[in-house]
């Protein structure tokens, strides 16, 4: 029952919509190269980022 | 406004030459606040408190206070005062009776937050039935709020206690609110001689950096700071934090004892302590007792008097010691329930010698004769 979001780097275009939809702080980050990083330990797996992602680059498992 | 210079509390209280004035209790409050270097005061009307806060408004207009406004109700006033105190300023407010009860939730909150607020309570009866007359019942409700509680006998006491309350409240090891209680009308509206410190002197300002908790101003570390945190998870660890926090509030009141001793000359005042019959009282009941003792004396009865100035902290050991020597202890009170009698009985070993009478309420005064009757009864037993 404890799951977390994962990002498919291939699909992600770094639009940051996931960051703006995540209810938890300091979970999804982005670096200068527009790589999305997810702090798995802190993710609650709600799935809002999955729904928000236009590229279907996120999954919760 | 007179130009004021900052002096030490000791200078202001004990060294400066005082001037005798013939004023009411409400005016004594004004005089105390003038010298107290208060930053901010918030008011709300309720009889018999209103006059004092009008007068505080007047000295705001004269420049003695930097900010003043009328809040929307007592609960809101006590909340706003808390907000101001958290921001690190010295604040004052006052209320009475139903106002005290309306704001009740805030008082344990003040102590829990370690706010050195000084609030004057001009006690009166509480509903129902509605009355605006003197009655000290509200003090019974307040005993476990964690606030320090001083009870003024007269205008002079009210003046000194309000002024000194700021100094006691702000000691870093105390730093809890102080309620200064005065019996409505009997003190607030009675004109009497009061010795006032010079108007050109005032207390040093409050220093929030010496507080046991950080000021909420984003200028004090730590930055991540919540006043006051939820230590309310259900686990032993949180319980222990919560319990220790409460114990620390009780400890703060204990630490106040030495400051009450040095600034107010003790938690109690005793006259003729070796007498067989002792009267123990606080507030206006002390004055009535003084008259009764005079009368009793003329009848050849020797009666001692214990005036309790501080109800929280309570002079438990002193009372136990004094009562042990007496044959009878009379406790006159201005309320129907006899809360002071309960406190005293809790402190003494032999409760059978404690007489909880007379009790007057509904707004009447307590004729000294009523107390004399009790004295005679005790003397004849």
């Amino acid at each position: 029952m404890y799951v977390a979001a994962r990002v498919d780097e291939e699909k992600c275009n770094g639009c940051k919509l996931c960051i703006l939809t995540c209810p938890d702080p300091n979970v999804i980050s982005i670096d200068k190269a527009k790589n999305i990083g997810i702090n798995q330990a802190r993710c609650k797996g709600c799935g809002l980022c999955v729904v928000a992602c236009p590229k279907e680059a996120l999954t919760v498992s | 406004m007179i130009e004021q210079k900052v002096v030490t509390p000791e200078q202001l209280f004990f060294e400066a030459e005082r001037e005798e004035q013939f004023i009411t209790g409400s005016e004594a409050i004004r005089e105390a606040i003038k010298s107290a270097n208060v930053d901010m005061a918030i008011s709300y009307p309720i009889t018999p408190q209103s006059e004092s806060m009008h007068l505080v408004g007047d000295i705001f207009a004269e420049g003695y206070i930097k900010e003043y406004f009328r809040g929307e109700n007592e609960f809101a006033v006590m909340s706003s005062v808390a907000g101001a105190a958290m921001a690190g300023v010295r604040v004052f407010t006052a209320t009475g009776g139903p106002g005290t009860l309306r704001a009740f939730e805030m008082f344990p909150t003040w102590s829990g937050s370690r706010l050195p607020i000084v609030c004057a309570f001009m006690t009166r009866g509480i509903n129902s039935p509605l009355t605006i007359q003197p009655d000290t019942l509200e003090m019974a409700y307040m005993l476990d709020t964690g606030m320090l509680m001083l009870h003024a006998e007269n205008g002079q006491d009210l003046y000194d206690m309000v002024l000194k309350a700021f100094v006691i409240a702000e000691k870093p090891d105390v730093h809890v609110p102080v309620g200064v209680f005065a019996d409505g009308f009997f003190v607030t509206h009675t004109r009497d001689k009061v010795n006032i410190a010079p108007a050109d002197m005032k207390l040093p300002s409050y220093n929030p950096n010496c507080a046991p908790v950080p000021a909420m101003d984003m200028e004090t570390v730590p930055f991540r700071q919540m006043r006051d945190p939820f230590v309310m998870k259900s686990n032993f660890i949180s319980y222990a934090a919560h319990a220790s926090w409460q114990q620390e509030i009780l400890a703060a009141a204990e630490r106040a004892r030495k400051y009450i001793d040095s600034l107010l000359g003790g938690l109690i005042e005793v006259e003729n302590e070796d007498a067989d019959i002792l009267i123990i009282a606080s507030g206006t009941a002390v004055s009535q007792s003084r008259e009764a003792i005079q009368q009793a004396k003329s009848e050849g009865l020797s009666v001692g008097l214990v005036k309790i100035k501080s109800l929280r902290p309570f002079p438990t050991e002193q009372i136990r010691r004094l009562a042990a020597k007496a044959k009878a202890v009379i406790i006159p009170e201005f309320n129907r329930v006899g809360w002071l009698c309960r406190e005293v009985k809790t402190a003494v070993d032999d409760t059978t010698k404690v007489v909880g009478a007379p009790r007057v309420f509904g707004g009447m005064t307590m004729p000294p004769q009523l107390i004399v009757d009790e004295i005679r009864r005790c003397a004849n037993e």
Partner: protein, 283 residues
């Protein structure tokens, strides 16, 4: 009420003090009385200890004369000048703690609906400005938001009169009063506008300079409250004592205000409008 309870027990009828006998014989309970009948019937307020020229006393008297069904009206008040007169009213009157009147009225109205499902029991709140706009604002607004079937009437003297003349939320901006030593720093609270936003089906703003308007507004407000929803009437009742004008000037002060910032205003919801038309026709 059942008028039976207004009937003195035969054996004791002649023992009743005169004021009660008059009330029984010539009170406003039996037939509809109104503002225009004042002076011809025994008023339900026996007397009052208000100051000479008191606007609040006048306002309270006019409201009492405008009740559409005094025999089934219960008034809830609160501490303040208004209750001195109301305590002498030949109605059920209650005040408890300062500012809680609309909460008390909510509970009372609902209980009376339970106990008398087939009868109208008009619950009317009649309170000063401090009680409604300051300390009791929350409970006033929430009774409106919940759409309680009660009428709220404010006698607005723009000051805490009873505690010695402090500035209230309804005081005019700039006015110097106790607790506003540098003058009040914000405008009058727009309770009238808030009444509309908060769900009142009818609202009126009047002054004691227009007694007939008070009569109409109070009647409408109480009728609408029976069936449609909460209603509000705000009456300007100037205070000669604390605002320091001669007692004979109360109505003039009110009249001047009416010409200016206290102009007559009224709003009514379409539903209330429809209901009023129906009731008037029925009458």
């Amino acid at each position: 009420m059942s008028l039976r309870i207004l009937k003195p027990t035969a054996e004791f009828a002649d023992l009743l003090p005169k004021e009660y006998q008059e009330l029984v014989e010539n009170g406003p309970y039996h037939e509809q009385k109104g503002i225009s009948d004042l002076g011809t019937f025994k008023e339900i307020i026996e007397e009052h200890p208000h100051c000479a020229g008191c606007g609040v006393a006048l306002g309270v008297r006019l409201v009492a004369a405008s009740l559409p069904a005094p025999a089934d009206t219960l008034i809830i008040g609160t501490p303040g000048c208004s209750f001195f007169g109301l305590a002498q009213t030949a109605l059920n009157y209650s005040n408890t703690a300062f500012g809680n009147q609309n909460a008390v009225a909510s509970g009372l109205k609902r209980m009376l609906k339970i106990r008398y499902p087939d009868r109208n029991k008009d619950v009317v709140v009649l309170v000063g400005d401090g009680g409604i706009a300051d300390i009791g604002l929350d409970m006033t607004l929430h009774s409106w938001l919940r759409r309680e079937n009660i009428t709220t009437i404010m006698v607005d003297n723009e000051v805490y009169g009873n505690t010695g003349g402090q500035e209230s939320g309804m005081t005019k901006e700039g006015q110097v009063l106790n607790m506003a030593p540098e003058g009040k720093k914000f405008p009058k609270i727009p309770v009238f506008e808030l009444a509309r936003t908060s769900g009142c089906a009818y609202g009126a703003r009047v002054t004691v300079a227009s007694p007939r308007k008070i009569g109409e507004a109070v009647k409408k407000a109480i009728l609408v409250a029976r069936e449609v929803g909460p209603t509000y009437v705000q009456i300007y009742t100037p205070c000669p004592t604390n605002l320091k004008f001669p007692p004979d000037q109360t109505v003039k002060v009110a009249k001047d205000a009416e010409a200016g910032y206290y102009s007559f205003e009224e709003f009514i919801s379409p539903e209330a409008q429809e209901y009023m038309q129906k009731t008037t026709k029925a009458v």
